[in-house]
């Protein structure tokens, strides 16, 4: 059995700083991290393998070659094989193009399930998992919080999905695309000391367009169906702010404000 994990590297947007005074985004020293929900999905896959040691886990990532070091670390954390899909032609692909590229690679593989995060931290569209499912004619479910791998051998998975008003348990036939919600409970294992410098290059596998065979007009910016026409920093109306302390006078000022605006009725 094999689980494919679609994982993505994203800019560490949590550590973007925003300068409200100058209305600029401070982007210096922002490094790439594994998308947190993808890390949750990969951790879930590793947990399933604990139960079924025969399962192989392959990560699939579309990124520039600079991602290789990250992927080597995933192997050191227990991934059997890390695939990097990388080609200058693919740069600038929108979610539709990305889904086509990933789908074409996945079609060449045999697999039992595709694990991934529900959203990515950067784009956050959640398009790619659903589009890959559509292109490969697979069922898909998002916001998975629990998975019971016991039924894997019978061709389906039992999953819990968290929504606003309920937790639903589904059976989903395999292969399927399973998109996980972020969970602080699932954390990737650390790299053990002896594996810190383990030579893993032979388990990172690079796929270029030579293998996938797209025409130039099908991928990258040319193949995209959406076009960003402008990007701007989110601006917010500044206000004439009144600064007070939480002392008698300050509390009284806040109180008077609440009364004046009708939040406290006398």
């Amino acid at each position: 059995m094999k689980i494919l994990c679609l994982v993505k590297l994203v800019p560490d947007v949590e550590n973007f700083r925003y300068d409200f005074e100058k209305n600029v985004l401070v982007r210096e020293n922002v490094h790439q991290v594994l998308n947190p929900e993808d890390a949750t999905a990969l951790t879930a896959a590793l947990a399933v393998r604990e139960e079924f040691p025969g399962i192989r886990i392959e990560t699939v990532t579309m990124a520039p070659r600079s991602a290789i070091a990250h992927l080597e670390d995933l192997v050191r954390r227990g991934v059997d094989r890390a695939t990097l899909i990388s080609d200058p032609l693919f740069v600038g692909s929108d979610t539709y193009g990305t889904s086509r590229i990933l789908s074409r690679y996945i079609e060449t593989q045999s697999y039992d399930a595709i694990f991934t995060g529900t959203h990515s931290l950067d784009g956050g569209t959640a398009h790619v998992p659903a589009q890959i499912a559509q292109m490969l004619d697979l069922p898909q479910m998002s916001q998975i919080v629990e998975i019971d791998g016991d039924s894997f051998g019978n061709g389906f998975a039992v999953i819990d999905v968290d929504s606003e008003d309920a937790v639903c348990t589904f059976e989903i036939d395999l292969p399927a695309v399973l998109s996980f919600a972020y969970s602080t409970k699932r954390k990737l294992p650390y790299i053990s000391y002896e594996n810190l410098h383990q030579e893993v290059r032979d388990r990172v596998h690079i796929v270029t367009n030579e293998a996938l065979g797209f025409e130039r007009h099908e991928v990258g910016l040319d193949g995209s169906l959406t076009r960003v026409t402008g990007v701007e920093i989110q601006t917010f109306a500044r206000k004439d702010t009144l600064f007070v302390l939480p002392d008698d006078e300050g509390i009284e000022q806040v109180y008077a404000f609440l009364v004046r605006k009708g939040f406290i009725r006398l």
Binding site: F20, A130, Q134, E164, A166, T169, F170, T229, G230, K239
Partner: protein
């Protein structure tokens, strides 16, 4: 005449109605024939608001079957040739919309929060980088313009009354063949205790990392102001509060009249969710925290102390003013 289709999410009817406001922004109120599609036998909220109501009869397809429903919508598009297809960006809508776009080979813009026009061309605006930036996006491709719309970003106000024609969809599509064993099966649904939605509250008392240890106390102040408690992502991720009260780009966009931010620094991620708050009062030990510039009043100090004193002051009512100046 142009035709636009909106998808009705049965768990988010108000947000689905909001899509009609988006259609009006895109094409004008009178120059577009509006269609709503709903999986279910009736949809009262849409009567009088759309020209056509397409009802996919109960039992034909499971309401959680995104693959099947995307097939139905693709077939509806074959029949009606829509100019635009709009989906609410609810959890289900976010699974459905990408499938429809893939079927129709058309571009999809997710989580739209604003519509702009640029020389007569429609620009769909969405947040990017966790709300730190906004991107304006044009769609190309041969199919309809497709977008998912951020819940609560647009509000529908009933305008002209439309004569709604109801069309049941009984056997339109191969996707609903009774022999097809669904690949996704609902085994059990465990409802959560029904709570009010923070988006419906006029007053929100919201806590961040700075009040994590006394988060329970927020309820005291919320009760005095007849409001609800909300939280930043840090509090949610630490497990101190449930996900459905999270405000921000990855949580909910709220538009209360009053937002009291306690121990919230105001990451852009968070601020993106409170842009429409009328008044903001923030309590923070750091007067340079980003949220301060956006606040009407900044109380510089400890949030826990503020809660205690504010609750006391409100309970004292009018008579208290005298005591306060001793």
């Amino acid at each position: 005449m142009k035709r636009a289709l909106v998808y009705v999410d049965r768990y988010a009817v108000t947000d689905s109605l909001g899509l009609l406001a988006v259609v009006a922004r895109m094409y004008g109120i009178d120059s577009c024939e509006t269609f709503a599609v709903h999986v279910g036998s009736s949809c009262d909220e849409f009567y009088g608001s759309v020209d056509h109501l397409l009802l996919v009869e109960d039992g034909l397809i499971a309401p959680y079957d995104a693959a099947g429903i995307s097939g139905i919508i693709a077939e509806l598009h074959d029949r009606y040739a829509f100019e635009a297809i709009l989906i609410p960006a609810t959890p289900f809508g976010r699974m459905l919309a990408p499938r429809i776009a893939a079927r129709l080979h058309t571009g999809l813009v997710a989580d739209v929060t604003e519509i702009r026009r640029d020389n007569g061309e429609i620009r769909l605006v969405r947040p990017a980088f966790s709300g730190r930036m906004v991107a304006a996006i044009a769609s190309s491709g041969h199919g309809p313009v497709m977008l998912s719309v951020r819940p609560n970003a647009f509000v529908y106000t009933p305008g002209i009354h439309r004569k709604t024609e109801v069309t049941p969809i009984a056997s339109l599509t191969v996707q609903t063949s009774p022999d097809r064993r669904p690949s996704l099966r609902l085994v059990e649904r465990r409802g959560k205790a029904v709570t009010r939605d923070i988006r419906e509250s006029d007053v929100l008392v919201s806590g961040g990392g700075g009040v994590m240890r006394s988060f329970d106390r927020l309820e005291l102040l919320a009760m005095e102001l007849h409001g609800m408690v909300a939280a930043s992502r840090r509090v949610i991720d630490s497990g101190k509060a449930p996900r459905h009260i999270q405000v921000g780009q990855s949580g909910k966009t709220v538009s209360p009249r009053l937002y009291i931010a306690l121990g919230i620094s105001g990451s852009i991620q968070h601020v993106a969710g409170i842009r429409n708050a009328e008044f903001i009062i923030s309590v923070n030990s750091d007067r340079r925290a980003p949220i301060c510039a956006l606040s009407d009043i900044v109380v510089e100090g400890d949030a826990r102390e503020f809660i205690t004193r504010m609750v006391e002051r409100i309970r004292r009512g009018t008579t208290g003013a005298d005591h306060a100046h001793h």
